[in-house]
């Protein structure tokens, strides 16, 4: 997904001279075509995220649209105050292209695991947060980032993720996509967990349970209306995300459900990383399995909640 996203930056830079790419000490071949063809739109800076983010804000205030790329944890935690004040408060058109959202960098340990990026950025006014399901959807969303006023965060997956998004459905920043109809339960998901949600829905269908799947590629501004309307049609709502359950998609959906005061109340559960630092290496898949972010577990939770409903 990272390569596709950087290819998109090249495409955007070609069509709009305001686009400037800023890397934070990335690999030697990063966007070399952009550097060769449009050297004034390519900057490779040192390992200095705080300066890069504020410098990008300065460039944006002069009319540029900077796209910054580095590893998600460093692009969020390290420079959080710069994001809050210089991107959020100043409402600058800076794009943060975050490599390795979630537990992609499992072998590299907890310093490299971006399990809280959505939670902390959700608290920043003016921020747009995108978590595409696969490279195709990322391409569709990246094309729209040129026009968004204010800062945008794009959470990238590992790359090579199976394509589960659909070109035949409208894809618009700020609008959740109903991927599957169903009456038995609603699964709300984001990012690459869409594939997990769809697999669970397939499994449930075999057992005679129909599950709706709502894909929330834009976590902020959140499509609260779609979440409310889809939740209203089912007795059970379950969220699943490759992120801590503290403050992410699950929390956001819980807020909507709680404030909706449904009668009868919804059976509700969040699936995600619990409030811990992951304690194993391995792979993205093995860490997700460790924390039950799987189709089997999701299907099991829905069946368990069905029994409580009855």
């Amino acid at each position: 997904m990272r390569k596709t996203s950087l290819d998109m930056v090249y495409e955007l830079a070609k069509r709009d001279p305001r686009v400037v790419f800023i890397g934070s000490d990335l690999g030697p071949d990063t966007l070399k075509q952009l550097k060769a063809e449009f050297p004034r739109q390519f900057l490779m800076e040192g390992v200095s995220e705080a300066n890069i983010v504020t410098m990008a804000a300065g460039l944006a205030m002069e009319g540029k649209i900077p796209y910054i790329n580095t590893i998600a944890t460093f692009l969020t935690r390290r420079c959080f105050e710069q994001i809050v004040l210089d991107l959020g408060l100043h409402n600058t058109k800076v794009r943060l292209i975050a490599s390795g959202g979630g537990v992609v960098y499992a072998p590299l340990g907890p310093t490299h695991l971006a399990i809280d990026d959505i939670a902390i950025l959700r608290a920043v006014p003016n921020m747009t947060i995108l978590a595409p399901a696969d490279a195709d959807e990322m391409r569709r969303l990246m094309l729209q980032t040129l026009e968004v006023n204010g800062p945008v965060y794009v959470r990238l997956g590992k790359g090579g993720d199976p394509i589960v998004s659909r070109a035949d459905l409208p894809c618009e920043i700020g609008k959740a996509i109903l991927m599957r109809e169903g009456k038995g339960a609603l699964i709300v998901t984001t990012g690459i967990c869409l594939q997990v949600a769809l697999a669970a829905a397939d499994e449930l269908e075999k057992q005679g349970i129909s599950a709706r799947v709502l894909h929330v590629h834009t976590l902020k501004p959140l499509d609260s209306a779609a979440i409310y309307e889809n939740a209203a049609r089912v007795p059970i709502v379950v969220t699943i995300e490759e992120h801590t359950i503290v403050g992410g998609l699950g929390s956001a959906v819980a807020e909507i459900i709680a404030e909706a005061s449904f009668n009868p109340p919804k059976r509700f559960r969040r699936i995600g990383i619990p409030d811990v630092f992951p304690d194993q290496y391995g792979s993205q898949a093995s860490l997700m399995a460790r924390y039950d972010i799987t189709a089997e577990h999701l299907a099991g939770v829905i069946k368990e909640l069905r029994s409580k409903t009855a």
Binding site: A50, N51, T54, M55, G58, M61, E62, L85, H90
Partner: protein, 257 residues
């Protein structure tokens, strides 16, 4: 005017404002290109007060130059005013970036200057940083970046009043040798008496000191200079609930010169 503004808001970073009075006076009287009637004039020079807590001195000058009516000063920190305890971009005409959290202004300045260089614009960028602020790591990230891009459009003015909130700079976290530090980070460095208007003016007229380097002027200043009450007095770094008696004392202790 600074004291009257403090009187209106009953609070303020008093010492931090007094130490940069001459720096701002020379910048806005003799150096900066600006159009107060058109604060976003593209060809203007950009001036960022990175040590945003010194903003009362900036507000007084911006009002004097016509960026906003003087009456705004008397609403300092009021709910219906535009002038807060730290300056805000988009709210205060003439303010180029919201500052208040230290260590941000220089990176904004690097962004502005880099844009000018990329677009071959002629305007210049001036950033006033505090000495206490130079403890922030982001200042030195920005300095490395400015030197790398050879941003001769950029001039940093360090308000070196040798005091911070707890005590002297030397006690809290020393900066010496400060001149050598900036030079080793790739800046062309000069030192001036930050209260000597002629020396400031002559030095600022010579920037850039090196056509391939950003410039820095270490301004030796005295915190709170201007009144005998605040001069070098840590108690006046920031004051809240300033009483009428204290305001009267400030007026009485204003230097005659």
């Amino acid at each position: 005017m600074i004291v009257r503004t403090i009187e209106a808001g009953k609070r303020g970073h008093v010492g931090a404002a007094f130490s940069i009075v001459e720096i701002l006076r020379v910048l806005y009287d003799d150096i900066l290109k600006f159009d107060a009637a058109n604060p976003r004039w593209p060809e203007r020079d950009r001036c960022i007060l990175s040590k945003g807590h010194g903003c009362i001195a900036l507000y007084v000058l911006l009002a004097e130059k016509g960026f906003f009516p003087e009456s705004e000063l008397w609403k300092f920190c009021a709910s219906n005013g535009i002038l807060g305890g730290h300056p805000e971009y988009g709210k205060v005409p003439g303010v180029e970036a919201s500052t208040g959290s230290l260590g941000h202004g220089l990176s904004f300045g690097v962004g502005f200057a880099l844009h000018a260089k990329l677009e071959q614009d002629n305007h210049r960028v001036f950033v006033i940083v505090g000495d206490g602020e130079c403890s922030e790591g982001s200042i030195w990230e920005a300095a490395l970046c400015a030197a790398k891009h050879q941003l001769s459009q950029l001039t940093v003015l360090v308000d070196y009043n040798k005091q911070q909130t707890y005590g002297t700079i030397a006690e809290v976290q020393g900066l010496e040798p400060l001149t050598e530090k900036w030079a080793s980070f790739g800046f062309a460095v000069r030192e001036v008496n930050g209260h000597d208007v002629d020396e400031l003016r002559n030095t600022l007229r010579e920037v850039p000191f090196d056509s391939n380097k950003p410039s820095v002027i270490i301004c030796h200043t005295v915190k709170g200079k201007g009144t005998s009450l605040t001069k070098g007095n840590l108690a006046w770094h920031h004051k809240a609930k300033v009483s009428e008696t204290e305001v009267a004392s400030l007026f009485a202790s204003l230097d005659a010169e």
